[in-house]
Each structure stands twice: as structure tokens, then as C-alpha cells.
């Protein structure tokens, strides 16, 4: 199935008239020079056309609601429908963000409770909910680290240490914060190379950014030593919480020695990915960094008539690194995470890491038994693990990318490919706790079949996908012959989608 562009379905003058005022109001009082001379090139279509177009487009997507989606580092677990429905209650949805606090007590109470639960889940003492995605949480974290050093007059600390396996947002964030990035290598067992770390720390060390378990799918066992080294050098530890799903209720970032952590609520706490966002990248900190948290934060005053919730902003948080959003971050996403966490409860949260880890280890074992090569066969998988297809690629020419495309034809979304970059031809596989064993078995079976076919008929595998709305796309052409917007054409097709 293909679907023409919405622009090509329009006709001059066609509209969805229920959706706008029936007649155009006058604007005669506005100076003519201010006015637009030609209307913007928006589609001219009927309401039915719009509904049909976007419904059909939606069907071209894979999603958790339709497919197993074992995308490593992304935690594609079930997004409870209750979270969506309850976050969209009119009492939350139709309220202006600058509504007086007295009118927003129900909303503020949810956020306050959420702050508390996140403190519990991290072991930290302060939380700000405002960052709008993991990367912004990272920004907030590194900015707080810088502010901390600066506040102490320790102004030379401008280096952020990052392992080579780190997610790209970590070094990019360090740069945005005006820091230099110092990369350290991973050892053969998947843990950070401690000797290398010791060499790079020093008076310019602002801090280190780590995720644990790392993006290699293994738990950094010497985390306590790392903390000692970094703290010893005067630096702070930043925890990239994208992998929190693996340790929820098993250990705490605070216990591991981290000073600040961000959590992708759109991963561990199951808010939707929405085809690329929005997420929420809340930050939690220990006492050291608490004064620097970004604002606003929700506070509580105990009044005569019970609790009274309110915003803490500039005046009450003078050392804050400041604001990160126009209002209060991705409020609706925060509410979704809140609903999810209340549905799980403490025991449920702990089960998340338990079964996510069970699924990953089971699948890793099953694939290893079938002859695939785990990147770290001697290690426990965390909630995800890496398979390297290096040997298959060498013997057949069929690459990790080819496997990914062939999986699509078998009805599975592909794992993450070519990340982390240090493992050649890798698939980073994260099943999550919400998938059933039978699904994992079917996925393993698919990988086995693809590999068998690779040895029999490599060209066949390389010609995948064949059942998707398009076949393999030319990325190079996309970048070379940039086509980023629709250009109104006289020769738009006269007939409709099909």
C-alpha cells in the first residue's frame, strides 16, 4: 500500500468547513503591509480525506501495538492505554499552564507524588521534572555539575569523561554545556577500562557520564571504584538513566555513587514514544546538587485544609540553573508516567527489571545455543544484549542491516543496529518485560531462518524487505538530492490514493 501526499489530494477551494469560523472576520484595522499576500501552501482537502489519509498512513508503521519491537536502548514496552486516557482527562488537558495554583491542585499533587516516587526509585534527594527528553535531562545534569564547581570557585573543571560505548547524546550534551569531551575505552569484558579512567581524571575533570548497565548490555561491576576515582579527582558522576529498566528496584543510582541522574520516562516508565517523542527526561540529584535543580519544581505546604501544592520558581530557587521550557516540561507525559507507576507499585517496579532481565538472558541463551555470537557470552545480559554478526557477514556478505530488513518481512521490528559502534555488525536486542516467551521464541526462530537463508541465498536476504510499503530506500540519494518539502506542482495526479 502506498499513500499519496496530502497535498496531492487537494483541490483549490476544498475545505473542512466545520473546523473554522463560517465567515472570515475582518482585519481591516491591520496595516496592509503586515498582511500575507499569498496564502500558505497548506492542503485543501475535506475532513474525510484527512481522516482517511492519516489513518492509512498510520497503518504503514510498525509499533508496539502491532509488532514485537526489540529495539535496544529504547525499551519498547507496552504503553498502557489507561495512561493515555487518564492523562487526557479534561481537567488536565484543558487547563492553561499559568492557571493559578489554587485551580491546579489535582495536577500539582500528581507531580509532587511523582517527584517522590522518582526519588525513591533513584535514591536521590531532589527531583526536577522539567527536562523534556533524555538529552535535556543530560543537559540539566551537566549544567548542574558545572554550576556546582563554579559555585565552589572550582572554575577550571571543563572536561566531561565519556566511555566510547556511550550514547551520542552524552558527548553532544557535554559540548552544548561548553565542556570538552574525553573519551575512555571499554575493556574486553565490557566494563570501563579503569586504568584509562585513572589516567584522564584530574583538575579539569568536571565529571563522568555513565549508564549502568552500559549500552553494551552488561552491568559495570566496578562502579564503586569508578565513583571513588572520579570523586577523588574532584569530579561528579552523572547517571544516564536510559537503562534504568534493567535495575529498577535492584540497586539505586545513589547507591552506586552517582550524584545526578536523568530518567527517560519514555523508556522505563512506559510513556509512549509517539514516533519520536515527546518524552520526559526528569533529573534527580543528591544533596550536593539539589540547590541547582532546574525550575519549576513542585512544592507542598501543609495548610489547615490539608496539603497545598505550589510551584517553586526563581525567588525560592536562587541557585537553580534556570528554566528549560516555556512552562512545565512535557506535563502530559509526566501524568502518563505517574499513572503507570501507580499501576505498578513498588513490587511491580521491581518485577520490571526482573522480567526484562529474564527475557534478555533467555533470548541471549537461545540465540547462543543456535550458534549466534553474543558480544559478551560470559556475562549476564542486563535488560538487553548484543549479538555480533561479524562471522556471518564475513562468510556470506549478509550484514546486520540485511538481517534488520529481513526481520521486517517476518513481522518483527529490527533490533538496534550498528550501535554501540565498537561491536562490528551488531544487533542490540532489548525484548522488554512485556513480551511473552512465545514471542521471543518466534523472534529467535526468525533470526535462525534468516541466517540459514544467508548461507543458502545471500542475495535473497539482501533483497529484503519485500513486504513493506517500500523496498530498501536509497539513503545516499536522500542526502545528496535533498527533497525536504513538497513543491506545489501543476501535474499533481488526478486520482486518489491507492
Amino acid at each position: 500500500m502506498r499513500e499519496p501526499l496530502i497535498f496531492d489530494q487537494g483541490r483549490p477551494g476544498r475545505r473542512a468547513p466545520s473546523q473554522a469560523p463560517a465567515v472570515a472576520a475582518g482585519t481591516d484595522d491591520l496595516p496592509a503591509a503586515l498582511l500575507r499576500r499569498t496564502p500558505p501552501p497548506l492542503p485543501e482537502v475535506s475532513e474525510l480525506q484527512v481522516v482517511r489519509h492519516f489513518t492509512r498512513l498510520s497503518q504503514l508503521n510498525f509499533s508496539i501495538d502491532t509488532h514485537f519491537y526489540p529495539l535496544g536502548s529504547c525499551t519498547m514496552k507496552y504503553n498502557p492505554r489507561a495512561a493515555n486516557k487518564l492523562a487526557m482527562l479534561s481537567g488536565f488537558l484543558d487547563r492553561h499552564p499559568l492557571e493559578p495554583e489554587a485551580h491546579a491542585q489535582g495536577f500539582l499533587e500528581c507531580l509532587f507524588d511523582l517527584q517522590d516516587m522518582l526519588k525513591a526509585a533513584t535514591g536521590m534527594s531532589g527531583v526536577s521534572l522539567t527536562p523534556m527528553a533524555g538529552a535535556q535531562g543530560e543537559f540539566a545534569g551537566v549544567a548542574m555539575i558545572r554550576a556546582y564547581h563554579q559555585a565552589r570557585g572550582d572554575t577550571a573543571r571543563d572536561q566531561i569523561i565519556v566511555p566510547d560505548a556511550a550514547h551520542g547524546t552524552n558527548p553532544a550534551t557535554a559540548t552544548m554545556c561548553g565542556c570538552d569531551v574525553v573519551e575512555i575505552p571499554t575493556g574486553p569484558d565490557g566494563d570501563v577500562d579503569l586504568a584509562a579512567l585513572r589516567q584522564v581524571v584530574g583538575p579539569r575533570t568536571a565529571g563522568i557520564m555513565l549508564t549502568n548497565p552500559s549500552t553494551l548490555g552488561v552491568f559495570e561491576r566496578r562502579i564503586a571504584e569508578i565513583a571513588e576515582v572520579v570523586h577523588g579527582a574532584g569530579g561528579l558522576l552523572y547517571y544516564d538513566g536510559a537503562n534504568l529498566n534493567a535495575i529498577l528496584g535492584r540497586t539505586l543510582p545513589a547507591a552506586m555513587g552517582f550524584d545526578v541522574v536523568h530518567i527517560n520516562l519514555h523508556k522505563t516508565f512506559s510513556t509512549p514514544h509517539g514516533g519520536g517523542g515527546p518524552g520526559a527526561g526528569i533529573v534527580a540529584v543528591n544533596d550536593r546538587l539539589e540547590p541547582f535543580l532546574p525550575i519549576p519544581i513542585v512544592g507542598r505546604r501543609d495548610g489547615a485544609a490539608g496539603h497545598e501544592y505550589r510551584w517553586l520558581a526563581e525567588a525560592e530557587r536562587p541557585r537553580s540553573i534556570g528554566r528549560l521550557s516555556g512552562f512545565m516540561g512535557n506535563a502530559g507525559i509526566l501524568l502518563r508516567a505517574y499513572v503507570y507507576m501507580r499501576l505498578l507499585g513498588a513490587e511491580g517496579m521491581r518485577r520490571v527489571s526482573g522480567y526484562a532481565t529474564l527475557n534478555a538472558n533467555y533470548l541471549m541463551k537461545r540465540l547462543a545455543a543456535a550458534g549466534f555470537t553474543p558480544a559478551f557470552p560470559q556475562r549476564r545480559a542486563s535488560h538487553e544484549f548484543i549479538i555480533s554478526l561479524k562471522d556471518v557477514t564475513r562468510d556470506t556478505g549478509v550484514s546486520a542491516m540485511d538481517f534488520a530488513k529481513a526481520l521486517l518481512d517476518k513481522g518483527f521490528h529490527a533490533p538496534t543496529t550498528y550501535f554501540p559502534m565498537l561491536v562490528p555488525e551488531c544487533l542490540l536486542i532489548e525484548p522488554t518485560e512485556s513480551e511473552a516467551r512465545q514471542e521471543l521464541d518466534a523472534f529467535a526462530q526468525a533470526l535462525i531462518e534468516i541466517r540459514d537463508l544467508a548461507f543458502k541465498d545471500a542475495a535473497e536476504v539482501k533483497s529484503a524487505p519485500r513486504t513493506m510499503p517500500v523496498r530498501r530506500l536509497d539513503d545516499v540519494r536522500a542526502a545528496k538530492q535533498l527533497d525536504l518539502t513538497w513543491q506545489s506542482r501543476a501535474d499533481s495526479p488526478a486520482v486518489s490514493p491507492r
Partner: protein
């Protein structure tokens, strides 16, 4: 076990094949000293029925009011179809479209979105969204510094009457890179062109012009654009997207047009939602595309020569370029973009123009109605859908009394802009009726203790 499908038999069999006895065993690489065995601060699980009741009760405690408040977020009509479609599982629960062939729905939609936003702003390229208007403004500043012809200019000139929170956010985000936002002097609610001369000899990467400005009025966009271009600066437009259906697009400002446009996408079908999630938009001239932060979708062909869509120019992004990326942004506001694309398709250019015109007309009516209450002064210069009234008394207590009467009366400007006196920023979108305006007028008269005719 909520959201975990394992039966006892599954678990046992799986542990067996791993060679572990219990699930606890799977965590044996975590040093014992670091382990915890529970989360005492987290309450016990509730059923969906119980959470539903809890959330309904809390939602009901948020009071509904008649809204005349804008200041960066606007109550517009949102067609029912927008969110009924945007929350379909295939959009709602998909990831970033990294596997293009399995994500053509999201990719084509973003391509359509890019086309719409480029068209609205009169520029050539749009990205796939940033977090919100404030961060889009900050990213536009960073982009301008990277793209500036004057390689060493790290200052951005900003009119005084830009959204004060945006300015704060931008400062938080750009300060680390030693970029400075410098305020331009104002007079009569807009940038003082005469005062620009005092900046001669100073280096700026760009000027960022709010459109309309925070007071709802209009900056001298053509003059500022020409002034900036004459000095080798880039021009950034920070625009309200609804207004763009009516107003000259940034791409046509002055002689050469603005170079970058950014803004808050919330007015395009996104509910007020207590402050988020919204989305930021960012568009630019083609020449600047390699400085663009965030995702871009491009059209291409598949191996059979049939058209399709894919993420492109990823070498700008953090997952490829890492510390040299144009931004650290990864997850953006995809679902909001989905909603906005449906919204813009439903409205079309004529529909959006009518919305904009009706907002304007209603605000004119509102200003007239309120200014007829004794002691209130109305603005004289043109405005879009917000305007400044000067009250005979401090604004805060007036707003408080209005709120008690169920009216969200506007934004108190006096803290941010003391030079304006007891200034109140009011807004009437297309949703405000004549009766609503009359209700505000009589409530305000009541609060101020003035008698007015009904």
C-alpha cells in the same frame, strides 16, 4: 504482575534454560553492597479501576475557567479528529523512524509537516520539531552562531518585548557556550529603531524578532531585517504560527527575508494540557540546512525506483557526529507533530486564516469592551490576538478576584516589564464569544467597583 505476561511455567522454563535458579540470580553481577530489595518510598500497586478513580478525582480538582490568558499558550479549537487519529497505536507507540521501510507512516507525515511549516514561515527547510517554543528559540540562536558569517560573533540581539520565559530558557541553554543575548532598547511597545545606532561597531551573529511580540504588537520587522542583513547578521523570526496564516511570512521580511524562523507549535492543535507536551518548530533557508539541529526527513527512491521517505542528513545529529553534532537533541516531539499535521490539514490555509482573523477580531472586541470600563487604557498600535491594557490599580489582586469568579483574566506584565505600569496582557482566541467578552467586562467592572451598562 501488571504488564508482564509470564506464567509460572514460563518463568521456570526460562530460568532453567538460562541455568539460573531464581530471577534474583540474574542480578548476581551487581555487587551485593549496592543491592536493594525494594522501593520503600513507592506505594503499592493499584488496579486500573482505582487509578482511574484517583485521576478523575484529581482532574476534577483542577478548576475550569473562562480563558483570556495567552502569554505563550493559546486555547484554540482542536478538531476531534486530531487526537482520535494521533493516538492510534501505530503513531502513539512507534519509535523514532529509524527503520524507514517499517515507518513510512511517520516519515511521510513528518515530510508533510516539514512542507507545511516551511510554507507557513516562507522558508525552505523545516526540521521535524524541537521540544517547545522556548528551546526552539535557543536552538535558533545556537544555529545562527554556527551559521553566522562573522565567525566570532557570539551575541544575539533581542527586542525587549520577547517572551521573558523564552529569554530565560535560552540563557540557560546558550550560556555554557558563552553566547550572550543582548536586549534592544524599546519605545512604545516595540524596538526603538533610532537606538540601534548605538550598537554600531558591536558584533552580533543575529537578531531574533518576535512576531507578534510578547505584548501582542508588531516589531518593525522589515527595518530590523534590513538593518541586520546590512551588518552581516542573520535574522531569526520567533513567530506565532496561527498569525502566519494572516501575516507576511518571515521569508518575505525586508529585502531578503529572515534566515531562520522558530516558534511554539502549541496553537496548531495541541491542547493547553497544563503546559505540555507542546513542540517547537524551526525552519530556515536551504543554505543553513547543515546547521539545522534535530531530525530531517527527505524523499528518496527505493531499489525499485519507487518514492519513499527516510531520515536524512543524520551526520548533523548526535548519534553520528557525537560531540560535534548540531545539537544534543534526540527524542523530539513526534506525536505533537502528528497532531499538528492533522490539524493543519483539516484547517487548510483558508481555515487557518479564518481562525487567525477571528482571534484578531475577538481581541479587538475584547479590548474595546474592557476599555469601556472606567479607568482602563487600551493600546493604540495594532496587535494580533493579545493586547496590553493599563489598569487603574495593581494587576495581581484584580486577576485573583477574577479567577475566583471563574475568569482567567490575562497575564500580569508588571513584574517582567515594570516600565509598563499596571499592565495586563489579555487575549481572545476564536473561541471567545460576545457573551464571554461581556462576562469578562462585567466581572472586571465588579472587581474595579465601576458601574457599567450591561
Amino acid at each position: 504482575m501488571p504488564f508482564i505476561p509470564h506464567t509460572t511455567e514460563d518463568t521456570a522454563a526460562m530460568l532453567g534454560s538460562i541455568g539460573a535458579r531464581t530471577i534474583e540470580d540474574l542480578f548476581d553481577e551487581i555487587p551485593p553492597a549496592l543491592r536493594v530489595d525494594g522501593l520503600p518510598g513507592v506505594p503499592v500497586a493499584l488496579s486500573e479501576a482505582a487509578v482511574t478513580r484517583l485521576m478523575r478525582e484529581r482532574a476534577a480538582r483542577n478548576r475550569a475557567t473562562l480563558c483570556f490568558l495567552g502569554a505563550g499558550a493559546y486555547e484554540h479549537h482542536i478538531p476531534a479528529a486530531v487526537w482520535e487519529i494521533a493516538t492510534r497505536g501505530e503513531f502513539y507507540s512507534a519509535y523514532t523512524p529509524y527503520q524507514a521501510e517499517a515507518s513510512q507512516g511517520t516519515l511521510q507525515l513528518i515530510y508533510e509537516y516539514q512542507s507545511m511549516l516551511a510554507g507557513l514561515t516562507g522558508l525552505e527547510v523545516s526540521n521535524a520539531s524541537l521540544y517547545d517554543g522556548a528551546t526552539a528559540f535557543a536552538e535558533a540562536c545556537l544555529m545562527a552562531v554556527r551559521g553566522a558569517r562573522q565567525a566570532r560573533a557570539r551575541r544575539i540581539a533581542v527586542p525587549r518585548y520577547i517572551n521573558p520565559v523564552w529569554l530565560k530558557v535560552a540563557r540557560t541553554l546558550v550560556e555554557g557556550q558563552n553566547i550572550e543575548l543582548v536586549e534592544l532598547a524599546a519605545t512604545a511597545g516595540r524596538t526603538d529603531l533610532d537606538a540601534l545606532a548605538s550598537l554600531d561597531g558591536q558584533d552580533f551573529a543575529a537578531v531574533c524578532i518576535p512576531y507578534p511580540n510578547f505584548l501582542g504588537g508588531f516589531e518593525p520587522v522589515d527595518e530590523l531585517t534590513n538593518w541586520a542583513h546590512a551588518r552581516g547578521m542573520l535574522v531569526i523570526a520567533a513567530c506565532n504560527p496561527t498569525a502566519l496564516a494572516l501575516l507576511k511570512p518571515p521569508g518575505e521580511w525586508g529585502e531578503k527575508g529572515a534566515d531562520i524562523a522558530c516558534g511554539e507549535g502549541q496553537p496548531l492543535g495541541i491542547p493547553l494540557s497544563s503546559g505540555g507536551a507542546y513542540f517547537g518548530f524551526l525552519t530556515c533557508r536551504k543554505a543553513l540546512v547543515r546547521q539545522m539541529p534535530g531530525r530531517l526527513v527527505g524523499g528518496t527512491l527505493d531499489v525499485d525506483g519507487r518514492p519513499g521517505f527516510t531520515l536524512t542528513l543524520q551526520a548533523r545529529e548526535q548519534h553520528i557526529r557525537r560531540s560535534k553534532a548540531t545539537s544534543n537533541i534526540c527524542t523530539n516531539q513526534g506525536l505533537m507533530v502528528t497532531a499538528a499535521t492533522i490539524y493543519l490539514s483539516l484547517l487548510g490555509s483558508e481555515g487557518l486564516r479564518r481562525v487567525a482573523a477571528q482571534c484578531h477580531a475577538n481581541t479587538v472586541d475584547l479590548v474595546r469592551a474592557l476599555a469601556s470600563v472606567g479607568g482602563i487604557t487600551a493600546p493604540v498600535s495594532p496587535f494580533f490576538h493579545e493586547a496590553v491594557l493599563t489598569l487603574p490599580r495593581p494587576v495581581a489582586p484584580v486577576l485573583q478576584q477574577l479567577a475566583a469568579a471563574g475568569i482567567l483574566g490575562g497575564y500580569d506584565l508588571s513584574a517582567d516589564f515594570p516600565e509598563l505600569g499596571s499592565a495586563l496582557l489579555v487575549c481572545a482566541t476564536e473561541l471567545r464569544t460576545a457573551e464571554d467578552i461581556a462576562a469578562y467586562r462585567s466581572a472586571l467592572a465588579g472587581v474595579l467597583g465601576v458601574a457599567v451598562a450591561a
